[in-house]
């Protein structure tokens, strides 16, 4: 069974016909030639396929493309490119928060989600109870970043650089102006 859907991918509207079993990840990679999101497990266990769906981070391997009809999808390639990188992408390179690079686009998208979630006041398991007051935004300490980025596995072990990169970007990311780069 097939479905005709439209997606806005990295700011560009795209119409396509997909098998209803096709995941959002495979729709992006196999049908729209956007291979920034990676397939590492296809089970929602590694985070390599992370994209922003209407601004929130999701593992795109667990979403059916047909169910995402009409959605706005931002991949790492949409956050920035080589010529004009997103501050997070720059920070990943600066802190060498990557080696083989396969998990990296997912890490970058996940980190973008983390910045917005923290700015919106969302706590994590690592948020100190005193910081849970109404209207306060958790400070993205290293412990917070580690916790919030733990859905994105990196087999090369670049976590130390990833935490430093996200920390740099968090300090530059004023809580009031969330999502300025989308």
């Amino acid at each position: 069974m097939e479905a005709d859907i439209t997606l806005t991918v990295d700011g560009r509207p795209r119409a396509l016909r997909v098998d209803t079993r096709t995941t959002l990840l495979d729709a992006l990679r196999e049908h729209l030639d956007n291979t920034a999101p990676k397939k590492g497990c296809d089970h929602g266990q590694c985070g390599s396929c992370t994209v922003l769906l209407s601004g929130r981070r999701v593992v795109s391997c667990l979403i059916l493309a047909a169910a995402a009809d009409g959605a706005e999808v931002t991949t790492a390639a949409g956050l920035g490119d080589e010529a004009a990188p997103h501050p997070l992408q720059q920070a990943f390179v600066e802190h060498d928060g990557l080696q083989c690079g396969y998990c990296t686009p997912g890490q970058v998208c996940s980190a973008a989600g983390v910045l917005d979630e923290a700015a919106a006041g969302w706590p994590s398991a690592a948020t100190p109870p005193d910081d849970l007051a109404e209207g306060s935004a958790p400070v993205l300490t290293d412990a917070e970043i580690r916790e919030r980025m733990s859905g994105n596995l990196c087999r090369c072990g670049a976590y130390a650089g990833i935490v430093a990169a996200v920390g740099d970007a968090a300090r530059a990311h004023a809580p009031a102006e969330s999502g300025g780069n989308r």
């Binding site: 030639d33 990676k38 590492g40 390599s48 390179v93 690079g101 580690r146």
Partner: protein
């Protein structure tokens, strides 16, 4: 044109050359090349651990819309029955669909090729395979009478009668089966036009793939083109070829003109691309009361496969690590109905330094000695194995520097002494070593002057995340006296000069020395003011000192471990490594290599274990939800440092190789720290909470 000689690039830390492309997601990996007329491969795996395929009923699968073919041993293209392969390869593992014999559960017994990914996977589930099933055997033990010694034991003196033996440490230490699990699944896109074969492959060495695939497919290597500039990790499993590459080759031959794509699922990677054998290490140390070793005896039992042999060299590192007049190191291999093991980061040394380094800690406690002092007392002045002088050996410097940085001096000399907020806290240390391995083959590099000050360096090397791309740029810039930004490195393609594969931490040493030689050849031929288009090539030079010295990198790893009093949860808030690995070419990417190794070592220490169900012969925890690898929150304060080490003997760069040493010793340091924290000695990896609860 004139160029001012650049400041020396070697030793500085320029950013990863391929970093921006990777961060933007625009660097193409093997599965991601836009190809025409593509089709998708879905393997069908054996559901018996030993047997014979009698019949494959593909009628339901063939009825699925979009299915192009269903391959099995009765209809698959024939591969060369006796291919001439390098010593790295296992021909039997690559003889995919060439017979009905099933040697392990999960082996490829059929494959569907279809127009879409969804159709291929649906159809694969509808293939019915009928087997004649035979009894299987997947139980590894060190009590089996059928274990074989693959080589004569290494013996010096008599370990059984070693004297003095005031103190004896004798235990069995075990490490778990582990799977490499690079984030990028093993992937191949293959296209055969009836004469020439093109492969986009996730591999640690394009030329090794070309040689191997040409041999099994009966093609001239010149008609096989392999492309792999970006590789999503390998850690050894993308070194030797495995069944999926052979399967993709078969499918391409069966469907000439189509571009067939295969990316393994994560689950399939637990059966089809190798693993690190579990090890059972019987270690016996004898020493005088002052901790001077009189004997070292290490016998490691490992598993190999009935299909083809691969023996994890877990007893190897003990041959050269510490001085002792009486020594025995040997292996026992049990051949099981299991997939063929393979390289995994620091094969041999990584598991093989767990038992002995925990045993050294036990010896230190028995002698009432600081474990650093114990190691210093057993420093050899020559390689105990070969009696050659060391080209350089700075283990002691690493131990001293690590102790200083880690704050080792404040460590309580008793175990289970410190508790903070319900956590028992301890510190541990272990040593690391990794040899300077001869590269698996020669390499050749070409340097071409493009004009405008730009030089292009070409060789078929691989950057699987190591930073080779960046470091080779630095080496070339220095050897040419050119600014870094005017040097372009091309790699990962068989149209470039042939290079050795990335393995054994040999990449930078061999490719870098080759590039260095090519730069010298270029200057000798073309001088300082070359014409555009000027070129020179050179081969990896022989090392005149290669036979005269024992060459190893060393390290010292320190861990702080916290074990929760009530739950037994184990955390590692601090890990610190100091390494002596010759010259460090790129400080930024080298740090990542060391930290990455240590992180994988931490993962080995606390998480990784592939669990085999003996009734069925397969790994039951075959995904990331159940085979845990270290996640971000598992890694807290982690530091890697190195000492300045000049070693003129290893190669012209003085670089020993750093890809693997970081994982060696980490797990022992963690287990030793856990003992200091709790007084509970864990001799079996991974270290888990049930080791401590109630203990």
């Amino acid at each position: 044109m004139t160029t001012t000689r650049a400041a020396t690039a070697t030793g500085t830390g320029p950013r990863r050359a391929d970093g921006p492309r990777k961060a933007a997601g625009t660097a193409p990996y093997a599965y991601e090349y836009p190809v025409a007329d593509l089709a998708y491969i879905a393997p069908v795996q054996a559901t018996v651990a030993r047997g014979r395929v009698l019949e494959v009923d593909a009628s339901d699968a063939e009825a699925v819309e979009g299915v192009l073919t269903v391959l099995w041993h009765a209809n698959a293209p024939r591969l060369e029955p006796d291919p001439d392969l390098s010593g790295l390869q296992r021909a039997a593992e690559l003889a995919v669909l060439q017979s009905g014999e099933v040697a392990y559960r999960g082996q490829v017994v059929a494959a569907v090729v279809a127009e879409t990914f969804e159709a291929a996977h649906q159809a694969a589930a509808q293939v019915t395979v009928r087997y004649e099933q035979f009894p299987h055997d997947v139980d590894l033990s060190d009590q089996r009478s059928d274990a074989v010694a693959p080589e004569e034991d290494h013996r010096q003196g008599d370990t059984a009668g070693a004297e003095p033996a005031d103190v004896v440490v004798e235990h069995t230490y075990t490490t778990a089966m582990q799977h490499n699990n690079p984030m990028e699944p093993h992937s191949t896109v293959a296209h055969f036009d009836g004469a020439a074969l093109t492969l986009y492959e996730s591999t640690q060495g394009v030329h090794e793939v070309r040689r191997t695939v040409a041999a099994i497919a009966g093609l001239d290597p010149r008609s096989v083109h392999v492309i792999a500039p970006y590789v999503g990790g390998g850690f050894g499993s993308k070194g030797p070829l495995h069944a999926p590459t052979a399967l993709a080759t078969l499918a391409a031959m069966a469907l000439p003109g189509r571009s067939v794509k295969l990316a393994l699922t994560r689950r399939q990677m637990f059966a089809l691309v190798g693993y690190r054998s579990p090890t059972l290490q019987r270690v016996r140390l004898t020493a005088d009361a002052q901790g001077r070793l009189s004997g070292i005896d290490v016998v490691a039992t490992v598993q190999s496969s009935a299909l083809a042999d691969f023996v994890e060299q877990a007893a190897l590192p003990s041959k050269s690590m510490y001085a002792a007049p009486n020594r025995r190191m040997g292996h026992r291999a049990v051949h099981l109905d299991a997939p063929v093991p393979t390289w995994m980061r620091a094969p041999g040394e990584c598991p093989g330094m767990f038992g002995p380094e925990v045993a050294m800690d036990e010896l230190a406690w028995s002698c009432g000695l600081d474990p650093i002092e114990l190691r210093l007392r057993n420093e050899p002045d020559r390689d105990p194995h070969t009696h050659k002088p060391f080209s350089s050996r700075n283990l002691a410097a690493c131990l001293h520097e690590g102790a200083r940085r880690f704050g080792w001096d404040g460590r309580a000399p008793v175990s289970a002494a410190r508790t903070e907020n319900g956590w028992r806290v301890g510190l541990g240390v272990a040593a690391s070593t990794y040899p300077v391995v001869p590269p698996p083959s020669g390499s050749r590099a070409r340097i071409r002057y493009e004009g405008e000050g730009v030089y292009v360096v070409s060789l078929g090397a691989a950057d699987i995340g190591t930073g080779a791309w960046t470091a080779l740029t630095q080496v070339a810039a220095d050897a040419l006296g050119a600014p870094l930004e005017r040097v372009r490195v091309r790699l990962g393609d068989t149209t470039l000069p042939e290079a050795s594969l990335a393995g054994g931490s040999t990449g930078l040493a061999s490719w870098g020395s080759t590039v260095h030689a090519a730069a010298e050849a270029f200057r000798a031929r073309h001088g300082q003011a070359p014409e555009p288009g000027a070129e020179a090539e050179a081969d990896l030079p022989d090392n005149p000192d290669g036979d005269d010295f024992a060459m190893f990198a060393y390290g010292a790893q320190f861990a702080e471990v916290r074990v929760h009093e009530a739950t037994g949860e184990v955390r590692v808030p601090r890990l610190l490594g100091v390494f002596a690995a010759g010259r460090i070419v790129n400080s930024r990417t080298a740090r990542s290599q060391f930290l990455g190794g240590m992180t994988m070592g931490l993962s080995m220490a606390l998480h990784e274990e592939s669990v085999v169900d003996g009734r069925f012969g397969h790994v039951v925890n075959a995904d990331f939800a159940e085979y845990h690898i270290a996640a971000n929150a598992d890694v807290e304060d982690i530091q890697a440092h190195w000492i300045d080490e000049e070693d003129p003997h290893v190669n012209p760069l003085g670089a020993k190789g750093i890809g693997e040493i970081g994982i060696v010793g980490t797990a022992a340091a963690v287990a030793n720290a856990a003992y200091h924290a709790t007084g509970v000695r864990v001799r079996s990896l991974p270290v888990r909470l049930d080791d401590f609860v109630g203990a």
